[in-house]
């Protein structure tokens, strides 16, 4: 097998978050390839990271705000979006200050509710979702600006 083909296999591993792959060539040859999880971004890491600054996420560059003090919050599951309280007593607005861990909204799927929390202390720059919107996986929900950057 040529080096370019091995590189292609590595790319498949890397693209899909697989840690190990085994190929059979002909009836006798077998190639087993494994990578260290720490050598790349695994899919499970990606899933966690999707609620964090997307600048760190492989394959999300198109949607990443190049302004480094901005943090995008995207949906990590498909569902219906609602703001935090049914009575809308908390209804985030652009310009609101939010603390790390503060609840911003929730996504309702068939059997679960996913709370959307602020990953940083910051200010809401953009709200890209309305109540009862159907949200895809990866849909942009909020853009936050880091408080420490605002102060500086």
């Amino acid at each position: 097998m040529e080096i370019s083909q091995l590189e292609q296999i590595y790319q498949i591993l890397s693209d899909n978050g697989f840690d190990e792959i085994e190929l059979r060539l002909g009836t006798t040859d077998r190639i087993k390839m494994a990578r260290s999880v720490s050598s790349g971004v695994s899919q499970s890491q990606k899933n966690t990271a999707i609620l964090n600054n997307t600048a760190n996420i492989e394959g999300q560059s198109k949607e990443t705000n190049t302004d480094s003090n901005k943090t995008e919050i995207r949906s990590e599951l498909v569902g219906v979006f609602q703001f935090m309280d049914e009575d809308e007593s908390f209804f985030p607005k652009v310009g609101d200050e939010v603390a790390m861990g503060e609840k911003l909204g929730k996504i309702l799927s068939l059997n679960s509710i996913k709370e959307i929390k602020s990953p940083i202390d910051g200010r809401i720059c953009e709200i890209s979702v309305k109540k009862n919107d159907i949200i895809d996986y990866g849909h942009l929900l909020f853009v936050l600006e880091d408080s420490s950057d605002i102060k500086s």
Partner: protein, 470 residues
């Protein structure tokens, strides 16, 4: 009444289902993974939702996400296509519990036939020929070795929950049995979460013959012709035909009648299950014309277009939807519908046949599709489309019809010549080789065809490259 269907699949089969829905004025909802955002099925559906990342377990196998989309978009039914969740009884059951129609057989029938050893036992008791082997799953490798010695080597060890060759081992010598049995059990446990295996006599040089079944919820069962799928590599079919050169009209009738009996055996079971929708009964055929039940697939088959081309022009997906609506019996009359003319399907994959069929994902730089009378191309690709590395590498299924096999072969060769794909390696040259091969032409082949002729193919490729250089 079904007015909106979620298609829980991707690629060419999602496109193919959407086309039928459009013709029936049924709205469609596509689901897709991040890797498929530029896919044709996403563009063609009335609505489309990204449900997860590329990894199948987080997207196309994610039942919760799929059912959430079905709920949000108020779909009446879910079509599972083939692969992914199509033969998952849990998904079919959950879909029904959720109040949606699963376009396929009843989940109890899927569960029953998914246990290969159970299905084998039921058929054996009903007098349907099965390969000699263990009566059910073996309790230990030692018990399996004893059965293997009784039926004679070579034998196959097969996973009862298996498919696609996983958890399967060929054993040629008694001294290898225990070790290979343990390997098969471990592989089955890892792939299917079920380490139970059974033992079956291994047939040398078999042919793979299958019968398309259509059944409705009134218990009516029909056999729509036969298909031959012997040209395969590592249990993956490469070329399919309808009908088969290996079958006389009498044998064709007998095998279709046996397939009908398989379904009626399920319908006559104690649990009151009525098999409905589509199914495929697969048989192994030996060199003396004896055939044996292998398994029944409870879904739309990849190669279904060769049946559509030779059996009255029925749209099998439309029949599936009509059955799912459960409004009236299906509009079929003859229990056995014989093939008319001849159809061949070539599965064109983005694989390099000159390099042991290594996958070749990437961007299609140039794409010119073939056409003409009785030429059909089921695909989801287009020029500029990037074939992702995370799924199967199918570019498309090229299907032709002819009045007879010779005409179909000639027409396929013309279509393959017209088909231009650049940017990714593909299997067109290998399909041309098959169709020009004397053994294939004369009908002298078995499931060992690819293995037997691969070196000859490589020699011809090298010779042709040398001639080009000179």
């Amino acid at each position: 009444m079904i007015s909106k269907i979620l298609i829980a699949n991707r690629g060419e089969i999602a496109v193919r289902i959407i086309r039928t829905c459009k013709s029936l004025d049924i709205r469609t909802v596509a689901i897709y993974s991040e890797a498929d955002k530029d896919s044709l099925h996403v563009k063609m559906a009335d609505e489309a939702y990204c449900i997860g990342p590329a990894r199948p377990d987080l997207s196309y196998l994610n039942m919760e996400a799929i059912l959430t989309v079905a709920q949000m978009t108020e779909c009446d039914a879910i079509h599972p296509g083939y692969g992914f969740l199509s033969e998952n009884p849990e998904f079919a059951e959950k879909t029904e519990q959720f109040g949606c129609v699963f376009i396929g057989p009843n989940y109890k029938a899927i569960r029953l036939l998914g246990q290969k050893s159970v299905a084998r036992d039921i058929m054996k008791k009903a007098g349907i020929p099965v390969m000699p082997g263990s009566d059910s799953c073996i309790s230990s490798p030692e018990e399996g070795a004893k059965i293997a010695a009784e039926i004679g080597y070579p034998v196959l060890i097969k996973a009862t929950s298996g498919g696609g060759g996983k958890g399967m081992r060929l054993v040629e010598k008694p001294e290898d049995f225990i070790k290979l049995c343990q390997t098969a059990q471990a592989e089955a446990a890892s792939a299917f979460g079920d380490d139970r295996v059974y033992v079956e006599k291994y047939m040398l040089n078999p042919r793979h013959i299958e019968v398309q079944i259509v059944a409705d919820q009134w218990g009516r069962v029909f056999a729509l012709g036969v298909r031959e799928c012997s040209i395969q590599r590592r249990h993956q079919k490469l070329l399919e035909e309808s009908s088969s050169v290996a079958l006389t009209p009498e044998l064709r009738k007998k095998i279709a009648e046996t397939a009908l009996k398989v379904v009626r055996t399920i319908n006559n079971g104690k649990d009151g299950v009525i098999y409905h929708n589509l199914g495929t009964v697969e048989f192994l055929l030996d060199e003396d014309g004896h055939f044996f039940f292998m398994e029944m697939n409870t879904r739309l088959q990849v190669e279904h277009p060769v049946t559509e081309m030779t059996c009255g022009g029925y749209d099998l997906v439309a029949l599936q939807i009509a059955d799912a609506m459960k409004e009236e019996p299906l509009p079929l009359e003859n229990e056995i519908l014989d093939n008319h003319g001849w159809a061949i399907e070539c599965r064109i994959n983005a694989e390099d046949p000159t390099s042991a069929f290594v996958p070749s994902p990437g961007t299609i730089e140039k794409y010119v599709a073939p056409g003409g009378l009785n030429v059909r191309l089921d695909t989801a690709v287009y020029q500029g489309y990037k074939i992702p590395s995370c799924y199967d590498t199918m570019i498309g299924k090229l299907i032709v019809w002819g009045n007879n096999r010779d005409e179909a072969i000639s027409r396929m060769l013309v279509a393959l010549d017209e088909f231009e794909i650049e940017g990714v390696a593909n299997t067109i040259s290998f399909h041309k080789y098959i169709l020009n091969n004397r053994d294939f032409y004369n009908g002298r082949f078995s499931t060992a065809f690819v293995e037997k002729h691969y070196d000859d193919y490589m020699n011809k490729i090298k010779l042709s490259q040398k001639q080009k250089k000179d």
